[in-house]
Symmetry: C2
Subunit: 586 residues, 2 copies
């Protein structure tokens, strides 16, 4: 036994006890007659005291120790003269009798403090030192806790965690697969799973009834900010259920997590159709921590001679409460914001509802005070409020206004990270038209069932865009944290779906053959859902980046900066795998 | 809601209730006036009754249904006239009012029964049907239960489950890595982890103190029977611990599993040194469900003029109780057994202790009754027992006798699968000499610490073979189910170890650079252990093969027979990955 106690547990109750502690030297202070060392381990920090009068040898030794040295000390628990009420161990200190240096340490390249002086790249390279910092450690502790809560909750509901393979068949659909050359089958490749979708459906065919898995998934995408090539999802599937059963089950899970981890309880989560989400928030993942819902303004905006509005498919606005005093500079900032290429609006119209009942707008030339009052009534804007209006092609304009709404929410402090607003979005469109390839794509995946009421529309190609899916997303604070659907379990409907997606029978067979085959042997009605676990952790950890909730993340180029992966492999390895590299242009 | 109840829960308590059940048609029996259907789901089987008198329509419909059809029925719970006490639902049946066919099913290619008529290959190809069979389902339920028990036990001991990456750096050491070409870094590859070894040690450097993970691992080995290219281990690491702490912690875990799953309790697990394990069992993973320990017979066997014994480095035997009546045929079988090429003994000497006190042996020409009595005394053989003796080069002979001992144990029924005999094997050799390359290899891995008493031997190359490791295996019923070691945390010892293993500084740096670098920033003393989870499941599931405890296993050629993986990928995929195939000779 290297230690009798951890650095986080000794208090006045332990006064006079002889203890042995181990940990890292957090900091030391030399006060002449005394030397103090803060000793840190995962569980906390305890103050050590070395006394020059009673143990000059130890005190001299202690003074020479550097930051992050690994120490073992024996001593007696004593009451501090100046207590630190911020620390659980702040009432005591250890009068050290014995000191062993278990390991020396070079000076770390950044400070091991809650607010480190290290930049992102440096902390990624020395991730093992970054892990010693309290915020990073707490993130991983939260992740562990959430995983345990999820597993126990689902297990108690008779879900079985079943591990599905990581070496699977490559199916060229959607995002790119990572592939793995097979040495024993030269010229052939495994793929790493983008999700266990087909396997979990096979488990339902196999009668497993309720399945879950915290599953590692892989996507060889061009990485955007905060995407990782490998990620973890809480993957779930249930047999003999309808949409309501799925929503109730996983709403229960989310409520359980929010209660256990955040101490907040909820009534039924609100639900919104995809159509309404687009209409009122311009987004299929609305942040409902705040209101500021869209108001469609066509009938008050059009026909007044302002061509920009008159020619637009849609005029739509939001009301920012109490922002009528925004300065020219602030309004210019908002205009610049919506005109950024990523957002792409042509301009922004504002209408201030002044305190004295008058209006001031950027379109005063075209609209009378009476006209503007009509805007205000529509928007339920009061004196002191600011209306912000965009116009243009309907869907594009909604997406632009959604960005502006979120920006205003942030500016007004309406999106605090310690408030949690979950929401179901339902009735997604089944199909998405792609202009480039002039065909429909499955919005979720080809196994998503159409809404029962819309089944007949599968036979009417001109109505395909109107078909609703039996699909649902769960949204938290503006992030899609999970999504799923009722699956097609009927071969005839599945064939129609493939036809709609432009698959030939051969293509469907090549890509999904074994799943389609399985469905012929008695597939039960089934449905599922998958949560993005990394994102769920980051939101409940009240942080923006998922990277801080992954022990060893990769950077935006998919590289592990610490281990230097990926890397070149040897000629012998390539030969064994029967592959060659294509020479690269420099 | 497709159902109100499962097929496993209705009993006499539910008499008269209206219920809705869903499931698969297990079998149907048509008795003229009545048709009975056994409806099966994951939770059990319930008998359905269709009555020709009251509902001829339903009865006709029911008679047309095939095996494995997916049904939904509504009806009333009634008491059976002839009860089936073997089934939890055997006292009741459902008088069916409504019947819906949720899905039809083709005739399955094998019977969905506890003992199926399907061969291995067929069941692998239709794994989703095999999963419906009770024994396979129970295996996966056991696996889930064990995983939950492991996680909750370790979590309660402050272990954190931390996910380590699957896309890591290739380190050409030990078994072959699977590699993954990186599209974004052409010419470079990730590797899939053979174990999270280096990452878990980095977590200790990072102060995580106690780590575990049910980790997917990958090994591109030529597959032997019952090896899988991907497998799961319970991977653990602890800081500030000595060997005794590790053994106590994981002995606690094993006791917990054995108690919860098997209802058996244990005192302290026995421990044996590697040297004694080889001496008494000829194996580093002895099956101690039975005795039959080796007896070294040199002093009674040599010097009697039998050259085979006289020239042997070691004469060693076992005593098979009550086997003196073995026939010529049985003895010939045993001789053939040890002479099989996989075992490689030149011959087998037997000595029968007859009931009348005489002896009968295959070496009567060379040994008097008095000589043979000396054998018997050494072996503590009684009248009625059979001694089996092998001789030759010591280590080879021990391994041969180990095989014979296990064979005799099986023949005598001394290895029942429902008896569990755990054992620690400690004090492994640190290094293993390889004749071919004329150098030492690490028996575990290069980070395993030498036994503290043997540290000085690192400076004496002629004694390297004698150095014991601070390493330990946990053995259950003759299977190594886990193993680990105290790690080297001291840079100087690690350098000596690399030197001993013939690594240049550059080689050590290239392979283990980032771990070695991490050790310079304050590595705590640490140690760990990993259990083979698939094997643990199979032993506690009282089965021989791990394949039955994996939802979607691969065959011995590493192929997924159901999904047909690995497979060819497209020219476009190869181009994107900047690799080409080497043409194969046909």
């Amino acid at each position: 036994m290297y230690r009798t106690n951890t650095c986080g547990e000794l208090t006045l109750k332990n006064l006079g006890q002889s203890v042995t502690l181990c940990g890292w030297l957090q900091r030391s202070r030399d006060l002449g007659g005394m030397t103090f060392i803060d000793l840190r381990d995962r569980y906390g920090v305890t103050q050590l005291v070395f006394n020059m009068d009673s143990r000059p040898d130890l005190c001299e030794q202690a003074r020479k120790l550097g930051r992050e040295y690994v120490l073992q000390v024996k001593g007696v628990v004593a009451e501090r003269s100046s207590k630190n009420p911020k620390m659980p161990t702040g009432d005591i200190e250890i009068l050290v009798d014995e000191l062993s240096v278990l390991n020396a340490a070079k000076v770390p390249p950044f400070t091991i403090e809650d607010h480190s002086d290290g930049g992102d790249d440096l902390r990624m390279k020395y991730r093992y030192l970054d892990l010693r910092r309290n915020p990073v450690r707490r993130n991983l502790e939260l992740r562990h806790r959430l995983a345990m809560l999820v597993r126990n909750y689902l297990s108690d509901l008779n879900f079985l965690e079943i591990e599905t393979p990581c070496l699977i068949k490559s199916t060229p659909e959607g995002a790119r697969d990572f592939v793995v050359p097979s040495r024993m089958n030269p010229g052939q490749f495994y793929a790493l799973p983008q999700s266990p979708q087909q396997y979990k459906q096979l488990l339902m065919v196999g009668g497993m009834d309720r399945y879950f898995q915290l599953a590692r998934c892989f996507r060889d995408e061009d990485l955007r900010a905060d995407r990782q090539p490998e990620f973890t999802q809480i993957d779930c599937e249930m047999a003999f259920v309808e949409q309501e059963d799925v929503l109730q089950t996983f709403e229960g899970l989310m409520k359980h997590l929010l209660k256990e981890v955040k101490g907040v309880t909820y009534d039924a989560f609100p639900r919104i159709t995809w159509n309404d989400a687009m209409k009122y928030y311009g987004s299929d993942k609305p942040d409902i921590r705040f209101g500021m819902r869209f108001v469609e303004l066509d009938d008050v905006a059009k026909g007044k001679g302002f061509a920009v509005f008159d020619d637009a498919q849609l005029v739509v606005g939001i009301c920012a409460e109490g922002c009528a005093d925004y300065t020219r500079k602030q309004l210019d900032e908002l205009t610049d914001f919506v005109k950024r290429p990523q957002i792409g609006a042509k301009g922004l119209v504002y209408i201030k509802c002044n305190a004295d009942g008058t209006f001031k707008s950027s379109v005063d030339k075209f609209f009378t005070a009476e006209d503007l009052r009509a805007f205000a009534e529509k928007c339920q804007a009061k004196a002191g409020d600011l209306m912000l209006v965009l116009c243009g092609e309907a869907m594009k304009t909604r997406k632009q206004l959604s960005e502006l709404r979120l920006e205003m929410g942030s500016r007004l402090g309406l999106r605090p990270s310690n408030v949690f607003a979950p929401l179901w979005v339902i009735d997604f469109p089944l199909l998405e038209w792609d202009e480039e390839t002039q065909r429909y794509y499955a919005m979720h995946h080809p196994f998503t069932a159409p809404h029962p009421e819309d089944l007949p529309l599968l036979d009417q190609p001109e109505r395909w865009g109107d078909i609703r899916a039996n699909a649902y997303d769960i949204v938290l604070n503006g992030n899609e944290i999970g999504g799923g659907s009722i699956r097609i379990h009927n071969r005839e409907v599945q064939n129609k779906m493939f036809h709609t997606l432009g698959f030939t029978d051969e293509q469907a067979q090549a890509q999904f053959g074994f799943l389609m085959g399985a469905f012929e042997y008695g597939a039960p009605p089934h449905a599922g859902l998958a949560f993005g676990f990394d994102r769920l952790c980051s939101i409940l950890g009240e942080a923006d980046s998922i990277r801080d909730f992954i022990a060893f993340p990769k950077n935006n180029a998919g590289r592990d900066m610490m281990a230097e992966a990926p890397s070149e492999i040897s000629k012998e390895q390539l030969d064994e795998l029967a592959i060659r590299l294509v020479p690269q242009e420099k």
